[in-house]
Homo-oligomer: 292 residues x 4
Amino acid sequence: MTDSQVPVVDWHERQPAGDWLRGSSAVVVLSVDVDAESPVLARGEHYLNHLTTMSHQAYGPRVGVPRILDLLDRYRLPATFFVPGVTAERWPSVMATVAERGHEVAMHGFTHRHPVHLSEAEQREEIERSLKCFARFGVEPVGYRAPNWEMTRHSLDLLGEFGLRYDSSLMDDDRPYVTLGSGRRIAELPVQWLLDDWEQYAFLPEPDIGQQIEAPSKVVELWTAELEAMRGFGSLCVLTLHPFLTGRPSRLRALEQFIQFALSRGDVRFARAEEIAALVLGDEQGSATGPA
Amino acid sequence: MTDSQVPVVDWHERQPAGDWLRGSSAVVVLSVDVDAESPVLARGEHYLNHLTTMSHQAYGPRVGVPRILDLLDRYRLPATFFVPGVTAERWPSVMATVAERGHEVAMHGFTHRHPVHLSEAEQREEIERSLKCFARFGVEPVGYRAPNWEMTRHSLDLLGEFGLRYDSSLMDDDRPYVTLGSGRRIAELPVQWLLDDWEQYAFLPEPDIGQQIEAPSKVVELWTAELEAMRGFGSLCVLTLHPFLTGRPSRLRALEQFIQFALSRGDVRFARAEEIAALVLGDEQGSATGPA
Amino acid sequence: MTDSQVPVVDWHERQPAGDWLRGSSAVVVLSVDVDAESPVLARGEHYLNHLTTMSHQAYGPRVGVPRILDLLDRYRLPATFFVPGVTAERWPSVMATVAERGHEVAMHGFTHRHPVHLSEAEQREEIERSLKCFARFGVEPVGYRAPNWEMTRHSLDLLGEFGLRYDSSLMDDDRPYVTLGSGRRIAELPVQWLLDDWEQYAFLPEPDIGQQIEAPSKVVELWTAELEAMRGFGSLCVLTLHPFLTGRPSRLRALEQFIQFALSRGDVRFARAEEIAALVLGDEQGSATGPA
Amino acid sequence: MTDSQVPVVDWHERQPAGDWLRGSSAVVVLSVDVDAESPVLARGEHYLNHLTTMSHQAYGPRVGVPRILDLLDRYRLPATFFVPGVTAERWPSVMATVAERGHEVAMHGFTHRHPVHLSEAEQREEIERSLKCFARFGVEPVGYRAPNWEMTRHSLDLLGEFGLRYDSSLMDDDRPYVTLGSGRRIAELPVQWLLDDWEQYAFLPEPDIGQQIEAPSKVVELWTAELEAMRGFGSLCVLTLHPFLTGRPSRLRALEQFIQFALSRGDVRFARAEEIAALVLGDEQGSATGPA
């Protein structure tokens, strides 16, 4: 590697965000990735015959999603559900129910294949198929999250091209900012591994999606400690939940404890991702808008 | 992957279950997988010469099983022992003692090879050899659990064909349900990784069966938190124990603490798997029946 | 695998042990494996040039061993040091000091290569070189522990042939027993992964010897919970310590807490491995004897 | 491996150190490795297009470094920042700010490739490029830390040849000592894996830099237990922090708790690495000197 091979320039543009905190010390976005069988089928269709693996993933839409919706109802909290196209097609009731219960539905790829491993044409196809699939459910998504959070420069440009208003896949801040895709302003609502349930709970031998199972009490501690400290920095706390993991009884209780902790602070707001995106982009009315 | 390659249809049929809760808030099935050396020999017969690995596994039938039986006696609790054919042949006293002490013996494959890696003929041979082996001990099993819980569609059909009444390998619920195998009704008693001792305790370099050793106190917390939360959902808590792991002194104490916690609730029942299966299938007398 | 390929017979003989408990509820053997650079060099001599890896291992004899000896002195406790030949040659002062301070020195292979990966001739050479090397220090070992605890049937026979009195590598009990090697009686003092510091503390990227670092408090809990429960079974608690790991300040403190816990019970005895072996074998005077 | 292949001689020379404790019970060096994108780019330039991975690393210089600097200011503590050349070129403001705020800047390779995998010529080039790059910022480094701490014998010699005064990459003690590089005296300030944040917090799938995320409370316990025990041995506690990891809110709080603990002892001193090096080498005035 010679000097010229190390670009000094930044690799993605950033611009400051509008006032999205609005007096809160921190804001929580509860984001639910309804992966279901999609990450497994993305690794090979032969898993269709692996009933245990299929059933492990199906627990999400079948049992986890209804329980998470009930918990959100109990606390009257809004959430954003990122739904791969494959999940929407396999579990059409999920799409209907989530929207009916007043939550946002956003894009999460069609097949849950990771953009970094796709050609530009494949990335485009993923978005087109997702939009077409969502349209059949009457859903016009304004936001996107890359499967496994693995974006390329081209992914951002596609979001701009298709008129998406926000992405939630990058990690270079814990406060939202404005970036550009195909020259259009896109709100970035950054995520991070420590606010994800996957790294704490995922265990499955075939395919290997994780190898350890932590106690829910550890996860409550991890997440409440982060939120508590984020209150000192005015951060956006994007929590990422997977119904096939967090939908288990003791983990739902852990999520509830996190929610109770956040509410007990008095200065933490909950919001849908699209609401934060609208504020970040400075949309006049502070509410979300559909794709251009 | 085109649209037509993603099947929208469900991949295994489900029907509602009979009243198996019977007024309890949750039911615990203590299931003991007496793997002994079988999972190791399934990976290669050369392990016969690896005395440390062989002895690590032999601890199960030699020391772990008697201690677990004593613990069950002390609390007068019923349990279900899933025994691979290889274990039954290598440790005949285990089969005799477990049945004598009033527990259920059920099938767990013959060689502990995972069904997803076997041909249909090999899967059939595994069941036939198990039934033949069990018959020599006078045992007529009514239930089955796939080695490593790794079932295929064909596995379910074989259970129906051989007249088995229940399976305990799938993960798409935490309440039992009725599924079909070769057109016959089969009770599914679902399991999950977090209620298994393997993921918490298993460590062995050759073959690699796990790489970390958690404290028993963490395991008590994991299991009691799950059972406590299951009481709110009317769940079936199928705990899976391996004598070569849970048979160690401090882990037996952890199991005892879980049992004491369950008993202290007052509304949690313990049952053999076959009893739950009979209730789920709506057998008149609510008791288990043998294979058709 | 056909029936005939699954041997029903046991794979190593066992006979009952003499009275080694002698009224204690449990006995602790503190065993110290002074591996130093040997496990690393066994994977490739090119590690000689990897100063960080070499220094990570050298911490053991350089800093860890003297500190462990001081701790043992403070509590007037006996211990057994298993020393690979390579360590004895590279760190001659360790051999001298350990013996001088009244502890047992036993064999741990010459190069720390695992017996399961060696030919019979190589296994023999490992023992002959170790005995020759020990002889130069005036040490006549009576016991052996296989590197990584990975024994073969042939390993046991070699111990019998060379007149060793005990082995400490197998895992099928937590009470000592008598086995046979070349027809001679050998005491087995069984070990287990959960009473080893390696699985809790070892981290090194090249070569990969482990990938996680647990808090000493977890290790204290793991070991004291096991010893406490062992008191109910009359077990032998063989603790295995590696000076390059346990020699770190906070881990020495964890070892001290374990020792204090054991002493506080009032019915737990500490002993050298050779003393337990002599009692197990029923040697008249209950003390260790040299090789025949 | 024959006898002659196992060198009895030591693999790096050591000499005793000057009085660096100066009456303290232990000394803490807060060392900050500002890796940013360098370890990722060292594994392949294609990661330039992996926006999530790039952003995960960029969190360090963008958000983590300013927060760590603020924390140090609040407690008026000195620190040493090890900065790869690639980071200095990509994030020039980091170099400027760190020096301005009164901290030491030291070398950490140019590309963050591990010395053990480089030829001698490549190792030399890494140092020459680093020195040239640092010179453009007016920084004359006196110390070095190998990327991933993976030194060779040649690395030490190069430090001597280029007049560096100290290294901080080896692990065979927890007290500093004097070693030789190209015949010149070099202070070694030893590190260890358990006092590093990487092993506790690092998680990233592509490239795989770690696979688990521990709670900050565990890390506080790990580090304070080690420092507390080090006070009994007169040790140098070299804490290693990565801004892309420790820069997260709850982990900054963990670092602050460690600092508060150290300060509460009353007999623990904080120092820059160069100050300890000068005392170790016995420089008359006890302060750092530039390269010869």
